[in-house]
Assembly symmetry: C2
Homo-oligomer: 204 residues x 2
Amino acid sequence: MRGICSDRVRPRQRILDTARNLFRKYGIKGIGVEAIAEAAETNKMTLYRHFGSKDELIAECLREAANRACDIWCDLEAQNPGDALAQVKGWVRIGAERVLSEGRGCDLANAAVELPDGDHPAKRVIQEFKVEQRNRLADLCRRAGLQNPDLVSDTLSLLLEGARVNRQSVGPDGPCAQFVAAAEAVIAASQRRPETLIADDRAR
Amino acid sequence: MRGICSDRVRPRQRILDTARNLFRKYGIKGIGVEAIAEAAETNKMTLYRHFGSKDELIAECLREAANRACDIWCDLEAQNPGDALAQVKGWVRIGAERVLSEGRGCDLANAAVELPDGDHPAKRVIQEFKVEQRNRLADLCRRAGLQNPDLVSDTLSLLLEGARVNRQSVGPDGPCAQFVAAAEAVIAASQRRPETLIADDRAR
């Protein structure tokens, strides 16, 4: 088994990159440290020197995945400066791209399924990541002037989580194919206030 | 480790009940056949005689889970005979009960996450189950006279899948707590046709 290896990539990063790919391919519990070390062209001793244990390697892989996923907020702001509604719609678009391109779903949500043990060091990484994502999306929905921003953002989060896990059960043509349509309907329904509708009606 | 054991329960069923509980507790890959056989107060040879392999035991556990989950459709019809809309709302209520009461989520969706290997015999069980659930909910939404019944039913499916997986990351107070409110908003929005709204406006 050969991972992402290069003489120019240092062992610690080689182990992380290789572990992430192998965890995705075989599941976190479907691959051992020996196979990871071998695929990263190093050895178990080096792996343990850098990470201490397989559990800590898993936690570190998820920290990296969380940091990468958090880049989304900077990208959304850069692409739609000051336009929170466009950023909410951009969040849906990026989510849809991930549903389509990554058949294995969200590394962090998958890890929560694979690690029911409450004491695993990865559990805190997962929880903190999901809470931060939730708060940031709720803040965006609030700034976008959507009605019931907390309900809208949680609805969008559940749709995306559902799409990413459902795709693993039934593939890309299942309910996950409706993610964008479902999310856009939720955003559209929360853009107009009932008072505005009534005011519009009276103006006719 | 002691499972669900009784002299009156036959070994095959004891193994299935024990395996289901241990898979839920430790994850499918977190427990071996030896520990399952011991907890079921039998031995590995008996387990293999009944199921052939751990993979087939997993598939059979999921078949049982799927059959139990399919009882929902009979219950909904029995509780709301001939009233498809009440049955859709009942589906949401039962889904919410499962989100609340079963912190480990859907056994079949979890198994899809834990078994990325496309050749695993459980994969077909999972796919057939999810496709059947999807078709039955879409049929119910159609009979309930909801607009865009396929979109509504897929939206509801994604919300429930999302709630069950998200609960495993952030617990019962996270976005999953909004499942009922989110699902009811989707149903309410699909009950009124735009034409009806315009007709109402003109009648004022």
